[in-house]
Symmetry: C2
């Protein structure tokens, strides 16, 4: 196990009815900016629950934060926060609203070009306090201090993070997910699955606790995902388990002391930036290609994954590794995701563009086993 620092002060308020408690966690004299997306929270009752809980507070609203939130949109909110002297941000939505709100929190007090926070990971030293009401189990943003924001003008999708951006609290009420379209439930399951894989399916460092926690999340997603999708009527326990699994997948815990990768995310981000493909779908496209390319280097972990997750115990090492990757892709397909670039009308020309971007950038993930020169091969295998 490698040395690590672990710090996660987010106060999680989990369960039905917990939105009513948010007023215990926001200073009474706070000037709140409530951020949300396209307005689905006005149809499913979440908006009303939040407004009821915040009776007596000063609330300004900022709606219209889109999926893969745009720098351009968020800077409008930053303007409001600055001019209205907002001192608390309440994000109500899924990972895009949460990520976007974290960026608003970081950019408000930033001196200089706010794009530097994303482009150059410029340090931030002060942020607006924020809280979250989660409505989609997927990204883990509710219990971490990072986010991803896209500059629409240049089609660049970039990550940022700072401990100042941990939400003070996050409400995880499984009932808020009841009205989600199937596509978003599917995306959440796959997103959480790949978050785990980025931290787990790398190299052994003798970390049995972290490994078993990661495997526990994967097994839960494999069981609860299809179970939830099999019925049109949402089941509370099922949604609760998916929600908690997604949060635990990316709150830092399973990544402590182990080797994390994130190359699948980095490549996937480009597919979203250039083609607008759903984030989770890009991960389902890239991951099988990446693991196939790294079958030898990551063989030890792949064999562990094959046995503990897929119960694959027979055959040669090569056969077990291949089968584990195949089972993973079949799982993504089984929940309705097209795992080939051709399923999304992406061709060789786009691979060339994306590959060029990595060649200029000079890195892919956090491990040296995926070189910038490998990106084209990984994507070409996914045509």
């Amino acid at each position: 196990m490698e040395n690590f620092d672990f710090y996660n002060p987010v106060n999680i308020l989990f369960g039905k009815g917990k939105i009513a408690e948010i007023n215990k966690h926001i200073p009474k004299n706070a000037k709140i900016l409530m951020t949300y997306g396209g307005g689905s929270i006005k149809k499913n009752g979440v908006y009303d629950q939040v407004i009821d809980a915040l009776d007596g507070y000063s609330i300004t609203e900022f709606s219209g934060i889109e999926a893969n939130p745009h720098f351009e949109t968020l800077m409008k909110a930053v303007g409001i926060v600055r001019s209205e002297k907002i001192d608390f941000l309440l994000a109500v939505g899924g990972g895009s609203v949460l990520d976007g709100t974290k960026f608003i929190a970081a950019a408000t007090y930033f001196e200089g070009d706010e794009w530097d926070i994303l482009a150059n990971r410029a340090p931030i030293s002060k942020a607006v306090d924020l809280g979250a009401v989660l409505t989609l189990a997927a990204t883990g943003s509710e219990m971490n201090s990072g986010g991803v924001v896209t500059k629409a003008a240049t089609k660049e999708k970039k990550a940022f993070g700072n401990p100042l951006l941990f939400p003070k609290f996050s409400v995880l009420d499984p009932e808020t997910t009841y009205s989600l379209p199937r596509r978003q439930i599917v995306n959440g399951i796959v997103d959480a699955y790949v978050h785990v894989m980025e931290q787990y399916l790398t190299y052994p460092v003798n970390s049995p606790v972290q490994d078993r926690f990661a495997e526990g999340i994967l097994l839960t997603l494999l069981e609860e995902g299809p179970k939830g999708l099999a019925s049109d009527t949402p089941d509370y326990e099922n949604r609760a388990n998916l929600m908690w699994a997604a949060t635990m997948a990316l709150n830092g815990l399973i990544g402590m002391g182990v080797k994390s990768d994130w190359a699948t995310h980095m490549i996937g981000h480009e597919l979203t930036a250039f083609h607008g493909i759903d984030h989770a779908v890009t991960l389902a496209i890239v991951l099988p290609g990446l693991l196939t390319k790294l079958k030898e280097q990551r063989g030890e972990k792949l064999l562990q994954y094959a046995e503990r997750i897929w119960n694959i115990t027979e055959g040669s090492d090569e056969e077990r590794k291949t089968l584990a990757i195949q089972k993973t892709e079949e799982f993504f397909q089984s929940v309705g995701i097209g795992t080939r670039l051709s399923d999304h009308n992406v061709g060789q020309d786009s691979i060339d563009t994306i590959s060029k971007r990595f060649l200029e950038r000079g890195y892919v993930g956090m491990l040296p086993d995926v070189a910038v020169t490998d990106v084209a091969e990984i994507l070409e295998a996914r045509l």
Copy 2:
């Protein structure tokens, strides 16, 4: 899954050499009280590492915090904190030193009889900031906000807790455990194991993530415990895994949304209070008796435990449950713990005394399936 709040802001500094970083986490002008036990830290180099890291700080020392720390001892430290205007407590030791230091932190600003914090769970509204350098993986105190303190005069062992008592940071350097006697390593393994069992081996509430995390810790302890004990030469990775497992066993996470018990601890505390038996040993004595008594009520979880931890898949329900309890007791014995009261010269007269105390108190654990009238039967089966 039941509703829950999860909040754990402890900054964990994990790994060799991390003691050197504590000065980043203590205000430069702090007046520190450094608390420790019998002085083993002066022999194994930990004391020197701490002093080196705190070069330039004002440090007062308070040594002599005993195992199962005494209220009487801790109140002496409270006097020093008050008179010297100490504003940071640094606990250097195992669970007893950490628990004791939390009590010092809570008692310093308490108005009234400080024993009320323990006897009546009197609320505290202010506490001295504290940090910890852990030297024994066992109790989880390094990443939670509770503790247990004993009044020597009346042989009462009582728990307390408050979110104000989370350490600001805890250093977990596996190398600090290298000089521990075998008995303390064993106690740590068994203590952590039973911490998990108190939160896991109760009733199913459809919590697959929590269950698998709990099982992951148990499996790690079952693998790494005997591995570490098999050699006289400490192995870094082994000690690291035991340390992280013990921390994760009682930092609140696996207990979220599930039914926790703690009856084994409550009964065990009395064996320690009256007979001075090591805490972990009392747990190893009581747990098999408690599970046997509750074999029917907790059958569903016992069968899950039998299969996932002990790979017991054959035989009737009754046979599998019985075998799982037997395997658990054999594990405790295999690491050198006498699991019978007679191994520790405790007889019927003591059972009568302990049983009477529970009858007066009116409760045992947190679940209704262990009644005060059951305590005698549970202990008699362990004679």
